[in-house]
């Protein structure tokens, strides 16, 4: 493919982009409540999304543009390891089913908008709630920036590959438009747009998975070519870049990365926002059963990484950074092998696939800021209308912050931050998820465990180099057990087996939480007040005593 402008693709991309823009603005009036000046309405869509809307919203929200470009890119670069996204995306739903129901119920009863709201109510500890809120904010922000990375990969493949700040102009335009309709419509905007995104994605990936192998000689040949390409020695590391199955030292890493990612998925604010927006428990149950359809799709998409290897795809060099962008592997594959009109649809699917999660993530971050920083510490007497106004502004700030990251800082930094963010958000599991079942942990124990998990997690990630790219720190998500050191003691010295540091940090988090809880209980330090009661965790739509939505609290 030439590096000039791809006019057909651009035309179709622009047309579909305009369609979702219109939808984004119109969404304000869809299923409208009596006002948008309340976080229940702006930030949670009125708490009345049914099963289908939630399926499209969560599907569009969890399976992001970054996921679509990065997972095949990982397969392209390393082979089997990149497929961790499959077990991750399969086990997440059975694991989360029961806790998500309890969290929805208690939040519906008490008007909680964020996980930190819930923690505040459950433990009566503003400090613990602040810790949860800050973790959520820090984990979400780079993830928004990465959606921009995904969107840019597509724009540059279509030939909009300028250098310097001007090279980012199409991205800026797209994002300003997104910011405007999210400001106006809140969560309803991405919910409506998700319909378009998800339909396009299903069409594109199913077409790709049938059409491309038939064009390139069948899966047998594709995997044969891929195996050969992966076994070439990488000059930077002196080892093959990957393989079709997992090497021995990578197996524990695969399992712990999948498990850690699955546990973390619904701790992310943007996932919980979509859960809280549901109308009832049945909506959540049905979605835990039906969302894996997207996981199947993700698995098929991952296989396209091998197709790209077999087709001899070369990643595009990003003119703004000067380096090859491995995230362009799938867009380039589509551009090269599909007829132009279909490639345009495929690019639109990925591009719009950035808008939905970016919108939900910015709303989730805005909700966290508004409820757990602004209202808690800055303006305690904020009215619901003031909360909504603050959240709208916050969502703008968050989005433009993400753009600034991409414009002025190396995108690699955002990738590093997101990796760290995954480890961080996992440390909120004891306070947010385990607390749904027991109040045995003391708030001080939870804070201590959280702190240990955070700091040790970051320290472990810092110690991981990446010889292939020449990075000395934050080089990846795999820690050799040999390197695992607890204040200098190396329990696994000499072990090549690798493990996901987030998981290790979580184990330490839990141990410290238990130990500190025991100490603090023995010292008879009072536990905070719990505003929730046992029956709150079983509330459902239609119950008599539910809180009114958009209540003037």
């Amino acid at each position: 493919m030439t590096s000039g402008l791809q006019w057909t693709e651009l035309a179709i991309f622009t047309a579909l982009f305009l369609l979702v823009t219109v939808l984004g603005f119109v969404a304000a009036r869809w299923k409208a409540g009596h006002t948008l000046d309340h976080l229940d309405e702006w930030g949670l869509g009125g708490r009345k999304f049914g099963a289908w809307i939630t399926w499209f919203l969560l599907g569009g929200d969890l399976y992001t543009a970054y996921t679509f470009v990065a997972v095949p890119a990982l397969i392209f670069g390393a082979g089997a390891m990149g497929f961790f996204a499959m077990p991750y995306a399969v086990i997440a739903y059975p694991i989360v089913l029961l806790p998500a129901l309890r969290l929805w119920s208690v939040s519906r009863m008490h008007g909680f908008v964020t996980s930190a709201d819930y923690v505040r109510g459950r433990f009566g500890s503003p400090t613990l709630a602040l810790a949860i809120a800050i973790t959520g904010l820090v984990a979400t922000m780079p993830y928004i920036a990465l959606q921009l990375v995904g969107l840019e990969a597509v724009l540059r493949t279509m030939g909009l590959n300028g250098s310097g700040i001007l090279g980012h102009l199409p991205l800026l335009v797209a994002f300003v438009i997104l910011a405007l309709y999210t400001y106006q419509s809140g969560l309803r905007a991405p919910a409506l747009i998700a319909f378009v995104k998800d339909v396009l994605i299903y069409i594109v990936i199913f077409a790709a998975v049938f059409y491309l192998p038939s064009k390139l000689g069948g899966w047998e040949a594709i995997f044969g070519d891929a195996a050969e390409a992966l076994s070439q020695t990488n000059p930077a590391t002196g080892k093959p870049s990957g393989s079709l199955v997992l090497a021995e030292p990578s197996q524990l890493q695969y399992a712990t990365l999948a498990l850690g990612s699955a546990l973390a998925l619904f701790l992310y604010p943007h996932a919980l926002t979509a859960i809280f927006a549901a109308r009832g428990r049945k909506v959540i149950k049905r979605n835990m059963a039906a969302l894996p359809a997207y996981s199947f799709l993700l698995g098929l998409l991952a296989l396209l990484g091998f197709v790209a290897l077999s087709a001899g795809i070369e990643p595009i060099t990003n003119a703004a950074t000067g380096r090859p962008d491995s995230n362009t592997v799938v867009p380039v594959l589509f551009g090269q092998e599909f007829p132009s009109w279909f490639a345009g649809i495929a690019f639109a699917a990925i591009g719009i696939g950035a808008l939905v999660p970016a919108a939900v993530m910015s709303i989730a971050a805005a909700n966290l800021w508004t409820r757990n920083v602004y209202k808690e510490y800055l303006k305690r007497d904020a009215t619901p209308a003031q909360e909504a106004k603050q959240a709208k502004l916050a969502s703008l700030v968050v989005k433009f912050g993400a753009v600034a990251f991409i414009l002025f800082i190396d995108p690699q930094f955002s990738i590093d931050l997101q990796l760290i963010g995954g480890v961080l958000i996992l440390q909120t599991l004891p306070a947010v998820a385990l607390s749904l079942y027991t109040r045995w942990f003391h708030r001080i124990g939870l804070i201590a465990g959280w702190a240990v998990g955070i700091f040790w997690g970051i320290a472990m990630l810092y110690s991981i180099p990446n010889p292939a790219t020449g990075k000395e720190h934050f080089g990846g998500s795999a820690l050799a057990l040999d390197q695992l050191s607890i204040f200098g003691w190396r329990p696994f010295a000499g072990e090549e087996t690798m493990v996901y540091p987030g998981f290790v940090a979580l184990v330490a988090n839990l141990l410290i939480a238990v130990i500190v809880t025991l100490i603090v209980r023995a010292m008879k330090v009072p536990a905070g007040q719990d505003v929730t009661t046992g029956s709150d965790y079983h509330a459902d739509e239609g119950d008599e005593d539910l809180r009114a939505i958009a209540a003037k609290h």
């Binding site: 049914g50 099963a51 289908w52 089997a80 497929f83 499959m86 077990p87 399969v90 086990i91 739903y93 059975p94 694991i95 089913l97 029961l98 069948g218 899966w219 047998e220 040949a221 594709i222 995997f223 079709l244 199955v245 997992l246 197996q251 695969y254 399992a255 999948a258 498990l259 009832g280 049945k282 149950k285 049905r286 835990m288 059963a289 039906a290 894996p292 359809a293 996981s295 199947f296 698995g299 098929l300 296989l303 079942y437 009661t533 046992g534 029956s535 709150d536 079983h538 509330a539 459902d540 739509e541 239609g542 119950d543 008599e544 005593d545």
Partner: protein
Amino acid sequence: MASPSSSNRPTGLRWNAWNLLLLVPLLTLYPPLFNRIEPKLFGIPFFYWAQLAWVFVGVTCVVIVYRMTRDDRAGNRRGSTESERDA
């Protein structure tokens, strides 16, 4: 009949043996079970098609748990409004 409210909702943890089915999908976390190339399906190595197929195991388990743990409260309302509540 009275709608459910806090007076007739359960208060403690409710356990149903069917919930154990939710552990079955976790078998996919044990790589030695599927870390091989043969047998292939349509030319795709076992490692890949087996994990893809596991999606259906996960879905089946969740659906069974959903169906078998539908409780009386849903039954009380079923006659009057369940069909209205769909979608």
